[in-house]
């Protein structure tokens, strides 16, 4: 298990380019103790195993754990897996979950993170996706005003595989989600991200997509809404390596600032080393539309409710691809709760 003092000392500072806007100074003050918390997993069409001695698969902030949880999707399955992490108050913890999807299988994976009071959660999830497999992965980090979440996702796609990932983060004192995706020939990553940074919260989505082979596709759509004193950080690295011809990559971010002192930092970083590729990116930062506010108010909706409704509309667009009814309904509840906590 991680030694707390060494671990805290190893944390990156804003001098590190990847952590420029996400200072972990407040995390170092957090009064937490390393503990092991096993995630609760429900699986259909998959087997869950615990193994010892593995090492984390990503070069980021991680915690060492002795036991790694492996989710093995059965050959030919159309699997459904839900993983729930609940971090107790005062805990520094981080389960490592490895999901293995054989070729041509389907998987619907939902991973949810919740915590109590002050905690530091450093979970790592890896996905190994076989050729032609189709994975839907919805990741939800629930609001925890005093909690810290530093999660990593590393996905490795075999040829012609598809990963449709939705990352919904409703805040926390600091919530950073790092997503690394390695694409093979003809594979596709679709990423929808929603960062809701409430009062004084920091939400960071850090993505890295590696186009190592030809004909792969990236679609990134990230949205953020930021309340007073809050900050939304987005870094979107895409590297198109030599020989990754016919790469088709698009990245779009939209940020809604709900207060004068709300901050957004969006950094698209495209590195293109191949010819014959299609790459685009766009970043928009704005306020709520005054004409839309007027429209709502002429219908009798008060200014605060009108702002909430328009913010809900903004967030809902990001959730539009989630067609799992009960999951979508539970996300709507979380979004409504977040909206209710807005400073005005």
């Amino acid at each position: 298990m991680t030694d707390l003092i060494t671990w805290k000392a190893s944390l990156p500072t804003p001098r590190h380019e990847d952590w420029k806007y996400t200072s972990l100074a407040s995390l170092k003050q957090a009064d937490v103790k390393p503990v092991v918390v096993a995630p609760v997993i429900a699986a259909r069409g998959a087997t869950v195993e615990t193994r010892t001695g593995d090492v984390p698969a990503i070069d980021d902030v991680v915690v060492q754990v002795d036991e790694h949880v492996h989710v093995l999707v059965h050959e030919g399955a159309d699997a459904v897996v839900t993983i729930a992490h609940a971090t107790p108050a005062g805990a520094l913890t981080g389960a490592n979950v490895h999901v293995h999807v054989p070729a041509n299988c389907k998987l619907h994976l939902v991973e949810r993170f919740a915590g109590n009071d002050v905690f530091v959660h450093v979970p790592a999830t890896t996905l190994t996706i076989g050729a032609g497999a189709k994975v839907r992965y919805v990741r939800v980090v629930e609001d925890a005003p005093k909690g810290f979440h530093l999660g990593t996702v590393a996905a490795d796609l075999a040829p012609d595989a598809t990963l449709a990932l939705a990352s919904v983060v409703l805040g926390g004192r600091i919530s950073r989600t790092r997503i690394d995706v390695k694409l093979a020939k003809g594979s596709t990553i679709e990423m929808d991200g929603l960062s809701l940074a409430g009062k004084d919260a920091l939400v960071d989505h850090h993505t890295f997509v590696d186009h190592a082979e030809p004909n792969a596709t990236t679609r990134e759509r990230f949205r953020a809404a930021v309340d007073s004193g809050g900050r939304a950080v987005f870094t979107g690295k895409v590297i198109v390596r030599k020989g990754a011809v016919k790469t088709d990559a698009a990245q779009h971010t939209k940020t809604l600032l709900l207060a004068d002192d709300a901050i957004a930092n969006a950094r698209p970083q495209l590195e293109i080393l191949a010819d014959d590729v299609k790459c685009s990116h766009g970043a928009a930062v704005g306020r709520l539309d005054e004409e839309a506010l007027f429209y709502l108010r002429t219908r009798g909706i008060g200014p605060d409710d009108a702002r909430r409704l328009l913010t809900k509309a903004f967030a809902s667009e990001s959730l539009a691809t989630i067609d799992d009814g009960p999951l979508r309904a539970s996300l709507d509840v979380l979004v409504d709760r977040w909206l209710a906590g807005l400073s005005s």
Binding site: D289, E290, R297, R299, G300, D305, K312, A313, F314, A315
Partner: protein
């Protein structure tokens, strides 16, 4: 019901309404016609309290109270409704959800019970039929990708649900085909009653064949320059606005 006296209003430092006076008694339907840019939409937006417009002189009273002192949503809750010339698109919120939020906000402000989603849908489907609005539209994001005609239908649909006392209809007929015009006019007429008033802004006498006004006004260069009966609309359709302009210049209008 609505009494406007010597209203002056500017936007971005430019005066648009220049001493406008208008009286709409309860139970009446008044039409306003006037050239492009004369200030018709400005008037409708000032009545509703759009923050970009500054009233520099004059007054608006509604049911005897000073309207200008009231916040936008308060005006709506007291029964004022505007059918927008250019309705706003709100992606991400369904038409039904939006309208139920609006209706409940008004109910709550008036101390009336809120309506749940199921009861609301019943009422909404009924009213949608009235303006021949496909029920499927209720589940789509408000106005997003709606055709020009659908947007106008949805405005009138909203009006029939919110049941305002004073409805201001800003070019609700523009963008409607001949059949839609008849249907929408029918919807507007269902709201006609001795306790309600309507202010109908239009460029076309055609609409006024369906919604026969009690009084017709001509708005030019920020003022009401001529007032007449329902036949005034026909006269304008025939002769255009130049003769009114000449009358105004000669000082014989009104």
């Amino acid at each position: 019901m609505l009494s406007i006296k010597n209203l002056h209003a500017s936007v971005d430092g430019k005066e648009i309404l220049k001493g406008l006076t208008l009286e709409v008694p309860v139970g009446q339907v008044h039409a306003i016609m006037g050239p492009n840019g004369s200030g018709k939409s400005t008037l409708s937006r000032v009545i509703c309290g759009h923050p970009d417009y500054v009233v520099t002189e004059g007054s608006i009273t509604y049911e005897g109270v000073d309207l200008l002192a009231m916040p936008i949503e308060e005006r709506a809750r007291k029964g004022i409704f505007l059918s927008f010339q250019h309705p706003v698109e709100i992606p991400g919120i369904s038409t039904a959800y939006f309208l139920r939020s609006a209706l409940n906000a008004q109910h709550k402000a008036r101390g009336e019970p809120e309506i749940d989603a199921i009861d609301f849908l019943k009422v909404a489907k009924e009213k949608a039929k009235l303006v021949e609005l496909p029920a499927a539209l209720l589940n789509r994001p408000l106005n997003e990708g709606f055709s020009g005609g659908e947007k106008k239908r949805v405005e009138i649909f909203q009006m029939t649900i919110l049941e305002p006392k004073l409805a201001i209809l800003d070019e609700t007929d523009s963008g409607l085909d001949i059949d839609a015009l008849r249907v929408v006019a029918g919807g507007i007429n269902t709201m006609r009653s001795p306790t309600r008033s309507q202010l109908v802004i239009t460029h076309h006498q055609r609409l006024l064949d369906y919604i026969v006004p009690d009084v017709t006004h001509v708005l030019m260069d920020g003022r009401i320059v001529k007032t007449g009966g329902k036949e005034l609309a026909h006269e304008l359709e025939e002769k255009g606005y130049d003769w009114v302009k000449r009358e105004v210049a000669a000082g014989v209008a009104l």
